[in-house]
């Protein structure tokens, strides 16, 4: 008892340590949430916050009347779903293949190469993608040309743009995403393999009956957690690669929000889009975590 009291008297130190963190998130996370109230106003950047002109749901009605809104919403969901599916299938397959490699040197070399793009920003990778896909000088079209294919403007083509986004997104992330699955594969109980071997199961059946069930929880977990990103679509990537020719298939909510908010300075309208996006995302994240908890018994902390 005496020891407990002596220790807990030091608790004010714990509170003190938290002060810088609290001040920072109060200013830069919670204050902007309060600032979302301009979504219900006709906010004028010149007048500022001195004089508030509330206009109810006008901004939300205005958004629905924007011709760009519905395509942007559709593109966001389509691109995100494509990316989420690819973002599970590709890394899982890659991890399964890497797991069969016996040579540690070979495995490490492959990992070193495929992890690398993860650490570059979309500014750098976007610059590389723009260069290699350029219709007249880019190496992709030079190679295609050697096979008699006419140059393709991948980044200005509504037929290609979404696929380019999914493929280049995988280029950046698939290697890094394998880490989680490789860790899960390393954790599969070795005794089960021996038991399967005793039962006369070959390599394929071992993979099917032991390996896949072994990593199923982590796959389910990653799938449910990715629900929260459905309204994202990847601003950094798309902003650095898109152009007006592909707005029809490539414009997403975040890029639309940027053009309305920053380029046209319609703060209230942009804030209204942001508010809807944040609320729906919160709901989806909540759903994802609830599912993750129910199915895979996962908790974030």
């Amino acid at each position: 008892m005496f020891r407990k009291a002596k220790v807990s008297r030091k608790n004010h130190q714990l509170h003190l340590m938290l002060i810088p963190g609290f001040v920072l998130i109060l200013l830069f996370s919670y204050l902007p949430i309060v600032g979302l109230s301009i979504a219900f106003q006709d906010f004028n950047p010149i007048i500022g916050f001195k004089e508030l002109r509330w206009n109810g749901l006008d901004n939300f009605h205005y958004i629905l009347s924007l011709p760009d809104f519905k395509p942007a919403l559709r593109n966001t969901v389509v691109i995100s779903v494509m990316k989420i599916v690819a973002g599970i299938v590709v890394p899982v397959v890659a991890a399964l293949l890497l797991n069969e490699v016996r040579s540690a040197l070979f495995k490490r070399s492959v990992q070193t190469i495929v992890y690398m793009p993860h650490f570059f920003s979309w500014v750098i990778l976007g610059g590389i993608v723009i260069d290699i896909l350029s219709p007249d000088q880019g190496v992709v079209n030079v190679i295609l040309g050697a096979f008699g294919v006419d140059p393709i403007s991948f980044l200005s083509s509504n037929a290609w743009f979404r696929y380019v986004m999914v493929i280049t997104d995988q280029w950046k992330e698939f290697g890094f995403s394998t880490i989680v699955y490789l860790a899960a594969l390393a954790g599969v109980d070795q005794g089960q393999y021996e038991a399967a071997l005793m039962d006369g199961a070959g390599r394929w059946r071992q993979t099917w009956h032991v390996t896949l069930p072994g990593i199923r929880p982590i796959v389910v977990l990653m799938a449910t957690l990715s629900l929260g990103s459905i309204l994202n679509g990847g601003f950094d990537q798309i902003f650095n690669l898109y152009n007006p020719l592909v707005f029809e298939t490539g414009d997403i909510l975040d890029t639309l929000l940027y053009r309305i908010g920053i380029e046209q300075a319609q703060y209230s309208v942009a804030a209204a889009i942001g508010l809807v996006k944040s609320i729906v995302s919160l709901g989806l994240i909540g759903l994802g975590y609830w599912l993750a908890y129910k199915i895979a018994n996962y908790r974030i902390f």
Partner: protein, 295 residues
């Protein structure tokens, strides 16, 4: 001695070939543009460069490094890293330590954790954040690039989980000996947390070096752009602006094209990341596994 069946042997051969192909495919775009940056403008512009530089030259790099704006942007990036990374690591540790305590000793813990985690789940978004920076008169200040990203909740959770997995006896012994929490954190926890500290330090470093969007919206003055933002603005132009060139650059322009100059810019900006890549690979992988698969 394991018996390897013939179909499995065939699979293994296929597997090595396939993985080699995938690795080379991942590397290819980077190698190609790197080769472009070292090629002569005529070779690059006529689409001759595939895997090796054609008519090898450093001139594109000379051209890029001559640009005053480029060097200013480089210095701005170094500044945000030097200010931002230590501050972020310090604040992260100061949040993670108290929140790693048991509920029994620190009853407010659960509430406090939620206050931080909520910021990951719900944000005010672009416009309100911009208005806050504006109201705080931080536009065009390096602090606009540092303060809003100081608290990275993901890093806090990573550090918090690491602290929680340390033996409880360490803390008890230290506190009962009369040490304060500050002292316990500094002399007991931190010395044994170096790998985790390295992980969050590298996370933060890469985040700062790569961030470009905050520079674009919070800096009106192009002279205050960090390198990533400057590069973004350059890559969006169709050709190199022919104004503001130094005499040396004007001469170099004869043997440098927009394409080779842009390729060189990409790799000068990527160079610091490549330089620390061996450490990144080591600690990121460890950190990610520690953070996601908890004991």
């Amino acid at each position: 001695m394991h018996l390897i069946s013939r179909p499995y042997r065939a699979f293994l051969i296929f597997n090595y070939v396939f993985l080699t192909f995938i690795a080379l495919l991942s590397l290819f775009p980077i190698l190609n543009v790197l080769s472009v940056s070292f090629s002569s403008s005529s070779a690059a512009d006529s689409g001759q460069v595939v895997l090796w530089p054609v008519e090898f030259t450093w001139k594109s790099y000379d051209f890029v490094l001559q640009a005053g704006e480029f060097n200013t942007a480089f210095v701005n990036s170094v500044l945000r890293v030097v200010l931002g990374v230590p501050l972020s690591v310090l604040v992260t540790v100061l949040i993670a330590y108290p929140l790693s305590k048991e509920n029994a000793t620190f009853p407010q813990r659960t509430l406090y954790v939620w206050i931080f985690v909520f910021t990951m789940l719900f944000s005010g978004g672009l416009i309100p954040s911009f208005l806050v920076i504006k109201q705080l008169h931080l536009l065009d200040s390096v602090w606009a690039l540092v303060l809003p990203v100081t608290v990275q909740v993901f890093n806090v959770l990573l550090m918090l989980n690491f602290f929680r997995n340390l033996p409880k006896e360490l803390e008890d012994a230290s506190l009962i000996d009369g040490a304060s929490h500050w002292r316990t954190l500094w002399s007991v926890y931190l010395p044994i947390s170096l790998p985790s500290l390295a992980t969050i330090l590298l996370f933060t470093l890469v985040m700062h070096w790569n961030s470009w969007f905050d520079g674009m919206i919070y800096m009106n003055d192009v002279g205050r752009y960090p390198l990533a933002t400057y590069l973004q603005s350059i890559l969006n132009m169709t050709s190199i602006p022919k104004t503001n060139l130094t005499l040396e650059q004007a001469i170099l322009l004869k043997s440098v094209s927009s394409r080779t100059a842009r390729a060189a810019q990409i790799f000068v900006a990527a160079f610091p990341i490549l330089l620390i890549y061996p450490f990144l690979q080591k600690y990121f992988v460890k950190g990610l596994v520690v953070g996601s698969v908890k004991g």
